[in-house]
Subunit: 170 residues, 2 copies
């Protein structure tokens, strides 16, 4: 198969994407490390739990919502549990399942960190975009996510619950 | 100061961005781990060196081009040097400086991994976008990167060479 190399225009877009993604990740991590002592992914775990019924979620559902692998999630959850910000419980209706539940302390840390985090997201991203560009960004990213989630050719499905789930009826 | 919370429309765009960024990073890492035994960031270091004069760059310039922190770069370079894919040299004209140089073996690994990597970038990203969306993506990302690079209020400038450089004449 002949390699479909990127055109100069695609290369420019790709480099701009990678640069902005790295800079944005850095800015988010730096603010949250400074204000809450945790990177952005840990914050996202707490935030997702806080929006769930009874502030708890199955680990599988948490990985699926955050689009992260189970191994990355397990590592982060172990750290957050050690810090008392969440607690793991056994799932009543599924013996293989495990639940992550936000603690009161986790909720307090989240509430304290949220204003600074949102301000960073706004200053780094939305203050730089027109209304029209916000729509464009959503459309572009939704298309990319949809394609990647439905990509049946991807390996290592064992580690990515949103793949395993979509390809089996369980 | 009153927190400028995200509007529902901004929240949708933000969640779509985060999801697609995670899924894309996963897809790139998975392909490169499988085909070349390294994550995307390591591949980017080798690719950047391969495009530089004499296939070598000062560590500071490498961090600046890749928009990553010096500590992340140092860690990755140490691993790549251990694998024989690059070599560190002292900088002749700057005693504080250090140079990373791509080895023949590094170039060979890069050339072998490139087709699969480009195919993943194309299938995950560009195959999902219209010509117009490629332009939109470049414009959006260029704006975000420009704002973050010029952000004088950011802390920890010591670790981010593109900040230190832009705010001092050295």
């Amino acid at each position: 198969m002949t390699t479909r190399w990127l055109t100069p225009k695609e290369q420019r877009a790709w480099r701009a994407y990678i640069a902005s993604a790295h800079l944005l990740e850095d800015a988010l991590d730096r603010q949250l490390q400074q204000d809450a002592g945790m990177p952005h992914m840990y914050y996202s775990i707490l935030a997702t739990l806080s929006e769930s019924p009874e502030r708890r979620l199955r680990m599988t559902d948490l990985a699926e919502q955050l689009k992260i692998t189970r191994s990355r999630l397990t590592y982060a959850v172990t750290r957050l549990e050690k810090d008392g910000l969440l607690r793991r419980e056994n799932c009543r209706w599924d013996k293989r399942g495990s639940i992550a539940a936000l603690t009161e302390e986790g909720m307090a840390v989240l509430e304290q960190a949220a204003p600074g985090h949102v301000e960073t997201v706004r200053a780094s991203l939305f203050d730089q975009l027109t209304e029209e560009q916000v729509d464009q960004l959503e459309e572009i990213c939704t298309g990319i996510a949809r394609a990647l989630e439905s990509d049946e050719a991807r390996p290592a499905a064992d580690d990515v619950p949103w793949r395993r789930r979509s390809s089996s009826p369980s």
